[in-house]
């Protein structure tokens, strides 16, 4: 669905995106992860045609971005981090207006509003919406023309946990329906949960690209952390998950039934990001 080869771009003469190559398969959720200013948003702007003047090749939905026509935008849906909506119009009027820009068939406006819990507020002016409501409306606007390729920028930003869950389920449903999703985020937990593959972007280059599972496993084995009571106080110890049989203390505690707590502790995507890039995201 997306093929990028030797992509270079600079706002000035100095390169900002350097020699980037990757591909995104149809039906995949692909995440761009990186700190602010790393080049994630620039990359998304290049892939959606908001920025031009790149060298190399960037093909999305079968179109070289530099040679895109209007029909390219019939195939992609974009949701920016900050929802851009007509504040004086209602939610329904906003969807009607944006839907009227497309030639193809549209999804049911009310079904989409219902899917994000906005049907009851459909006739309220957007100016009266909370940040989360606007984010949900902006998200379904991107789905309205049933695009094959979705670009989502921080889709769960500003949402409460319940609505973030709804949004994530909708993103997964899009993937299951065969749509391709490009997700730009700082949120490692979202990326680990949603993305089939992620690319770590730092200083305009891809530092690592793999599935979240493989990236996490690359860091090494998980650990087992356990606690027990001794002399009236709680003590803790840890051992590698694949070395539990060799841990005499743990074996003794298991035999005596003296364990107070026991947890496996896997490295997170954030740990891996920190290790690979030397920078933390959250």
């Amino acid at each position: 669905m997306i093929t990028v080869q030797n992509l270079c771009f600079g706002y000035t003469k100095a390169p900002f995106i350097e020699n980037m190559s990757f591909s995104v398969e149809q039906g995949e959720i692909f995440g761009f992860l990186g700190p602010s200013g790393a080049g994630k948003s620039t990359l998304q702007k290049l892939l959606t045609g908001l920025l031009s003047g790149y060298t190399g090749s960037a093909v999305a939905a079968g179109t070289e971005i530099a040679k895109r026509g209007r029909d390219f935008y019939e195939k992609i849906g974009v949701d920016f981090e900050f929802p851009c909506l007509y504040e004086k119009l209602t939610a329904r009027e906003n969807l009607d207006f944006f839907g009227s820009l497309y030639q193809g068939p549209l999804r049911s406006r009310d079904a989409l509003l219902d899917s994000v819990g906005l049907l009851r507020d459909a006739d309220k002016k957007v100016a009266g919406f909370s940040k989360g409501m606007k984010a949900r409306l902006g998200f379904i606007r991107a789905l309205l023309h049933d695009p094959a390729l979705l670009f989502l920028d921080e889709p769960t930003s500003g949402l409460d946990p319940a609505n973030a869950r709804v949004m994530k389920d909708l993103i997964l449903a899009e993937r299951d329906a065969g749509k391709t999703v490009v997700l730009t985020t700082h949120n490692m937990a979202d990326a680990a949960e949603l993305c089939d593959r992620v690319a770590f972007i730092v200083d305009g280059t891809i530092r690592a690209l793999d599935t979240p599972h493989n990236l996490v496993m690359r860091r090494g084995a998980a650990r087992l952390v356990y606690t027990w009571l001794e002399n009236g106080g709680e003590r803790s110890a840890a051992c590698p998950l694949d070395g539990t049989g060799d841990d005499a203390v743990l074996s003794a505690l298991v035999a005596e039934g003296g364990l107070r707590t026991i947890h496996s502790q896997e490295p997170t995507l954030n740990d891996v990001f920190l290790e690979i890039t030397g920078r933390a995201l959250q």
Partner: protein, 237 residues
């Protein structure tokens, strides 16, 4: 085409939702009618008072030139206000990733309103002008007014960072119309200091009544539009 029509409908809806902008629409007609009625009245009073053959009459053409630009320029300012609000709300960036695109946005927010302004000018000049320009001159003058309107429309969002800055720049952008007056008040080569403004050549076109002057009007106008469109397109995102 679908996107452009939808965008124009959106523009119309934005106008209707803002009464101040909506009521700008009849202003060119009212202004032209006021000039047509009041200037001859004032001329009668002034010539009687000063015992002169003519006081304002030699400058009636300036009034007609103002009538030629008032509709495109006012419609341009209306569209500027809509554009600035849409840009402040991030909508211009969003519309650029829809089938409307940046080109469609420019077309429907700048060029169509200005062309409508130029079309509005034709009956105004035909019915309410003081100098009764030759019929063949009305269309070139209306088109020249449209070019001036488009420049005013683009000058503001091309340089303003937000709506507040834009409202200040609207006043400054009227300087682009100073070329209308210079040929009437400056003799000799000095007046050509404004030759980079299409409004200057528009005044020459009206003064000399030679269609040849449409060429520099269009060329300077297109030069301005090319520069401003590039800057405006960059500022849309």
């Amino acid at each position: 085409m679908t996107a452009a029509v939808a965008s124009l409908r959106g523009f119309w809806a934005a106008l209707r939702s803002d009464l101040m902008l909506f009521w700008v629409l009849p202003v060119p007609l009212l202004a032209a009618a006021a000039l047509r009625l009041l200037l001859p009245l004032a001329e009668g009073w002034l010539t009687a008072y000063f015992q002169a053959g003519a006081v304002l009459a030699p400058y009636y053409l300036i009034s007609d030139l103002l009538v030629a630009v008032v509709a495109p320029v006012l419609l341009a300012y209306v569209s500027v206000m809509v554009v600035l609000e849409e840009r402040d709300d991030g909508l211009t960036r969003y519309l650029a990733v829809t089938p409307l695109g940046r080109g469609g946005y420019l077309l429907t927010r700048v060029f169509v309103p200005v062309l409508l302004g130029a079309a509005y000018t034709v009956p105004l000049l035909a019915c309410l002008s003081l100098t009764r320009p030759a019929p063949w001159l009305i269309l070139p003058l209306a088109l020249s007014g449209g070019l001036s309107g488009a420049i005013s429309a683009l000058l503001v969002p091309a340089f303003a960072g937000n709506k507040v800055e834009g409202m200040a720049l609207v006043k400054l952008s009227t300087l682009a119309l100073t070329g209308l007056f210079l040929p009437f008040f400056l003799d000799g080569p000095l007046q050509y200091a404004a030759a980079f403004l299409p409004s200057f050549w528009m005044a020459r076109l009206a003064l000399d009544g030679q269609v040849f002057w449409l060429l520099p009007t269009v060329l300077t106008g297109l030069g301005w539009l090319w520069l401003l469109c590039r800057r405006f397109a960059r500022k849309l995102i």
